[in-house]
C-alpha cells in the first residue's frame, strides 16, 4: 500500500482519471480489510477455532481417568453416542423442555401483550414489572426458586399448594414435578421477552384494517384469528426461533435448581455433556455430545427459518 501511494504521487501525470478511481477504490478496499482484520481475527480465534477444536477433540478418546487409552478413534465417540440410552433420554428431556417452554412463553406472552394493549392506564408500570425477571441471572433465578419458592413446607409455592388443599408436594424430589418445576421457572423468567416483542409488534399494527373489520361486523375472535395473528406471524416466528435456540442450550437455571435430578429426570443434553466432560473427565465423549447438541440446534433452527421464509 505504501509503495502504491508513493508511485501515484511520484507520477501523477501518467495516470488517467479512470485509473485514479480504480486505485482509490482498491486502496479503500485494502483500508477496509485492514480495519476489519483485527475484529475478524479475534472472531476466528474466539469462536471458529474453539468450535473446530471441539469437533477435532470429539474424534479422540480423551479420558483423564485412563490416560493410557487416549488416542485418535475417528467416529467411535459418535457410534457410542447413538447407542447411549442416556444420550437419547437427555435429548428427549431437552425436546420436552424446549417445546413446552417455547409454547408457553409465546402463548402467555401473546395473551399478556393483548391484555396490556387494551389497558387504559398503567401500561408503563406493567411493562417495568414484567421485564424484571429477564434481567436476573439464570443462576440467581435458580437459587431463588430452589430456596424461596419450591422448598417443601417453607416455600411460597408449597405454602400456596397447602392452602389450596393440594397438600405439601416434593417439588424437586419427584421426577414429574421436577420437570414441571424447571419448565415453569424458565417460562417465568423468559415470558416477558416474548411479551415485550409481541407488544411492540401489536402497537405497530395498522388501525385501519381493524376499523374496516369492525365495519364488516367481524367478531373479536375473527379479528384476532384473521388479522392479528397473520400480521404478528413474523414476530411470533422470530420469538420462537430465538427462544428455541436459548432453551436448547439452557444450563444455569437447571444446574442450580435440580442439577439434572432427581436421577436424570431433568438432565438436558447440555447438562449431560457438561457432566461427561467435567465431572466424569471423559473429554472426548463430552465433546461429541456437545457437537451433537450443536447439530440438533442447527437442524431445528434451519427448519424454523424455513418456516419463516415460507409464505
Amino acid at each position: 500500500m505504501l509503495t502504491g501511494s508513493g508511485t501515484s504521487m511520484d507520477a501523477p501525470a501518467f495516470i488517467s482519471s479512470m485509473d485514479a478511481g480504480r486505485v482509490l477504490a482498491r486502496r479503500e478496499r485494502r483500508f477496509a480489510s485492514a480495519l476489519l482484520a483485527p475484529a475478524f481475527a479475534a472472531l476466528l480465534a474466539t469462536t471458529t477455532f474453539p468450535l473446530l477444536y471441539l469437533i477435532w477433540t470429539s474424534a479422540f478418546r480423551i479420558d483423564l481417568a485412563m490416560p493410557f487409552t487416549n488416542g485418535f478413534i475417528g467416529i467411535d465417540n459418535y457410534r457410542d453416542l447413538l447407542a447411549d440410552s442416556r444420550f437419547w433420554s437427555s435429548l428427549s428431556v431437552s425436546m420436552i423442555y424446549t417445546i413446552s417452554t417455547v409454547v408457553l412463553q409465546v402463548a402467555i406472552g401473546l395473551g399478556l401483550a393483548l391484555f396490556v394493549m387494551g389497558m387504559k392506564k398503567g401500561q408503563g408500570l406493567f411493562r417495568l414489572i414484567a421485564i424484571l425477571p429477564v434481567v436476573l441471572s439464570p443462576a440467581v433465578v435458580g437459587m431463588v426458586w430452589r430456596t424461596f419458592m419450591l422448598q417443601p413446607e417453607f416455600g411460597i409455592v408449597d405454602f400456596l399448594s397447602i392452602n389450596a388443599g393440594l397438600g405439601s408436594q416434593n417439588w424437586l424430589g419427584d421426577p414429574t414435578l421436577a420437570m414441571i418445576s424447571v419448565i415453569v421457572i424458565h417460562t417465568w423468567q423468559w415470558t416477558p421477552f416474548a411479551f415485550m416483542v409481541l407488544l411492540a409488534s401489536l402497537a405497530a399494527l395498522p388501525d385501519d384494517i381493524y376499523e374496516a373489520a369492525r365495519i364488516d361486523r367481524a367478531s373479536a375472535w375473527q379479528r384476532f384469528r384473521r388479522i392479528t395473528l397473520p400480521l404478528l406471524r413474523p414476530a411470533i416466528v422470530m420469538v420462537v426461533i430465538m427462544r428455541t435456540m436459548v432453551a436448547l442450550t439452557a444450563f444455569a437455571a437447571i444446574f442450580t435448581v435440580t442439577g439434572g435430578g432427581p436421577g436424570t429426570a431433568t438432565e438436558i443434553l447440555n447438562l449431560y455433556a457438561y457432566r461427561k466432560s467435567f465431572t466424569e473427565l471423559s473429554i472426548g465423549y463430552g465433546s461429541a455430545l456437545a457437537v451433537a447438541l450443536l447439530v440438533v440446534t442447527i437442524i431445528i433452527s434451519a427448519a424454523l427459518f424455513a418456516v419463516r421464509r415460507a409464505k
Binding site: L64, A65, M66, P67, F68, T69, R86, Q151, P152, E153, S168, N170, L172, G173, D174, P175, A178, G259, G260, G261, P262, G263, T264, A265, R275, F278, T279, E280, L281, S282
Partner: protein, 463 residues
C-alpha cells in the same frame, strides 16, 4: 458440595464460639500459647531454610480450618524463608480447577486441598509425587520429630494408592450416629447397635403430625453427598466393590442396601430430605424435627450452635449401627496435601517443607485448641492431639460420648476401600449418585437403577 464451605466456615466458627462460652479458662490458656515461638519447629533436625527464596501457591477451600492455617502461615515464612500464597477456591470447583492445572502441567498450585478419592486419578496420570521418598529423605524430614505414624491411620490409608503415599492428611472427619438423648430416653430406646434397630428407633420416634421425623440421611445426588453415605451401608450389607477383580455395583447385597436406604428415607425422613446435604440435616436436627441421623462428626458444631440450636444438651453420639454382615463401616473424609509433579525440584522441596509444617503436631495444635481466634478445628489429623486433655475438653462440650464415638469409629470402623478407589472414581461416583437418587425418587426401581449403573460403569473400567 457447594454449601460445604460456607457451612463449614460457619460451623467451625461455632465450635469456637461454644468453646469460648464453655471453656473461658482453656481459651485464655490457648491465647497465651499463641505466639511466634519457632523453637518447637527448630528442634527438628533438618535445615528449614534449604529452599529459602522459593514461592509456592496453595489452593484451599474457604473454611475456617484452612483460615486458621493461613493466619499462622507468616510463622512458616519466618521459619523457612519460603513465600507462600493461598488461593481460596469453593469446594465445588477446586477439583476441576486443580485437575485442569495438573493436566496442563502449568504447576500453578504447588499443592492443594485434595479429595482423597482423586489420588488414584493423580497417580494414574503421574500428576502427583509419591511422597515416601520425601518422608524417607533425612535431609528433608526429621522422622522422629514429624512422627508420621501419629497421623490417623485411616486417613493416611485413604491418601495412599497401592501402598504409595500421595497426600498428607491435614484435616478430616468420620461419620457417626447423632441422636436425641431426651427423645430416646422418653421412649426407652437405646442408640442403635444394628441397622434394624436404627429403623425401629426411627419408627418409634416418627410422628410427622407433630413435626418429628424418625431419621435422615443425605439424599442429594453427588459423589460426595449420597455416594458418601451409601457405600457404608453397602459394605455393612456385605457388599464388595471388586468381585473377582471386576467392579460390581449391583447384585443382592447392593439391592438390599439400597432398599434399606430408600425405605428409611421414604418412611421416616421428611420428603424434602431427598434434596438434603449434611448441613440441611444438621439444621433440621437442631430445630428439633429429626430423631437421629448418621453423618460427619464435625456436624456436631451445627447442632450445638447456641444461636440457632434448640437441642443443646439433648444430643448424644454413637458409632455406626452394625449391618447384617456384623460389620460397622464408617464413611471417612480428609483434606490432604499432595505435591504437584510439574514443579521444578527446588520448589517440590519447598512444598514438602510446607506440607510437613502444616501436618506437624505443633501446627495441628496451634490451629486447634491452641488457636487464639474463635474458630478451633475439630478435625485434627493426629492421634496424640485427639488424646490431648485440652482437645478432649473442647470436644466433649458437644454432648455425651462424642470423642469416644469419633475415636472408636476412626480406629475400628474404617476400611480404606469403603468406596472403590480407582482413577475412574469421578465418573463412577457421579453415576452411582444418580442411580441412588433415581431409586429414591422412584424414577427407577432399586434393581433397575443398580443394573443400569453397572451397565454404565463397565465400559468406564475397560481400557
Amino acid at each position: 458440595m457447594v454449601f460445604r464451605s460456607t457451612r463449614r466456615t460457619f460451623l467451625k466458627g461455632s465450635v469456637g464460639a461454644s468453646a469460648m462460652l464453655l471453656g473461658a479458662p482453656a481459651f485464655l490458656r490457648g491465647a497465651a500459647a499463641q505466639n511466634n515461638d519457632l523453637s518447637p519447629y527448630t528442634s527438628a533436625k533438618i535445615d528449614w531454610k534449604q529452599a529459602s527464596g522459593e514461592s509456592i501457591t496453595v489452593a484451599v477451600i474457604p473454611a475456617s480450618y484452612f483460615d486458621n492455617l493461613i493466619s499462622i502461615a507468616p510463622q512458616f515464612q519466618e521459619l523457612t524463608g519460603i513465600n507462600v500464597r493461598f488461593e481460596k477456591i469453593p469446594p465445588a470447583q477446586i477439583r476441576q480447577k486443580c485437575v485442569i492445572d495438573l493436566t496442563s502441567k502449568t504447576g500453578t498450585y504447588a499443592t492443594h486441598a485434595a479429595d482423597p478419592m482423586y489420588y488414584a486419578l493423580y497417580a494414574a496420570n503421574k500428576w502427583a509425587e509419591p511422597l515416601d521418598r520425601y518422608l524417607n529423605d533425612a535431609s528433608l524430614t526429621d522422622k522422629a520429630w514429624f512422627n508420621f505414624d501419629d497421623i490417623i491411620p485411616a486417613w493416611r490409608g485413604a491418601d495412599s494408592v497401592d501402598g504409595k503415599l500421595y497426600g498428607i492428611p491435614y484435616d478430616g472427619e468420620v461419620t457417626i450416629q447423632v441422636y436425641r438423648k431426651d427423645l430416646y430416653e422418653a421412649k426407652g430406646l437405646k442408640p442403635a447397635d444394628n441397622l434394624e434397630a436404627f429403623v425401629a428407633n426411627a419408627a418409634a420416634l416418627n410422628d410427622p403430625g407433630n413435626r418429628i421425623w424418625g431419621a435422615a440421611l443425605r439424599g442429594v445426588a453427588g459423589a460426595g453427598q449420597n455416594m458418601y453415605i451409601y457405600p457404608s451401608i453397602f459394605r455393612e450389607f456385605g457388599g464388595e466393590w471388586f468381585k473377582g477383580g471386576k467392579l460390581t455395583v449391583n447384585g443382592p447385597e447392593a439391592e438390599a442396601a439400597l432398599t434399606w436406604y430408600v425405605d428409611l428415607m421414604r418412611k421416616y425422613a421428611p420428603a424434602a430430605a431427598q434434596n438434603w446435604n449434611w448441613p440441611d440435616i444438621a439444621d433440621a436436627f437442631s430445630q428439633g424435627t429429626i430423631g437421629a441421623y448418621i453423618d460427619a462428626h464435625s456436624s456436631a458444631s451445627v447442632v450445638n450452635n447456641a444461636d440457632k440450636s434448640k437441642v443443646i444438651g439433648k444430643v448424644a453420639y454413637a458409632r455406626w449401627p452394625k449391618g447384617p454382615s456384623g460389620k460397622r463401616m464408617t464413611s471417612i473424609w480428609n483434606w490432604g496435601f499432595p505435591i504437584n509433579a510439574a514443579l521444578p525440584d527446588k520448589r517440590k522441596k519447598a512444598t514438602w517443607l510446607f506440607i510437613q509444617w502444616a501436618a506437624s503436631a505443633e501446627t495441628q495444635a496451634r490451629t486447634s485448641y491452641k488457636f487464639a481466634g474463635p474458630a478451633k478445628r475439630s478435625g485434627v489429623n493426629r492421634t496424640s492431639v485427639w488424646k490431648d486433655p485440652a482437645y478432649i475438653k473442647l470436644m466433649s462440650s458437644f454432648g455425651d460420648n462424642f470423642v469416644e464415638a469419633a475415636m472408636d469409629s476412626l480406629q475400628h470402623d474404617t476400611d480404606v476401600d469403603w468406596r472403590p478407589r480407582v482413577p475412574q472414581w469421578p465418573a463412577i461416583g457421579d453415576t452411582m449418585a444418580t442411580a441412588i437418587q433415581s431409586a429414591l425418587a422412584g424414577q427407577a426401581t432399586v434393581k433397575t437403577a443398580l443394573d443400569d449403573a453397572q451397565k454404565r460403569i463397565e465400559p468406564m473400567m475397560k481400557g
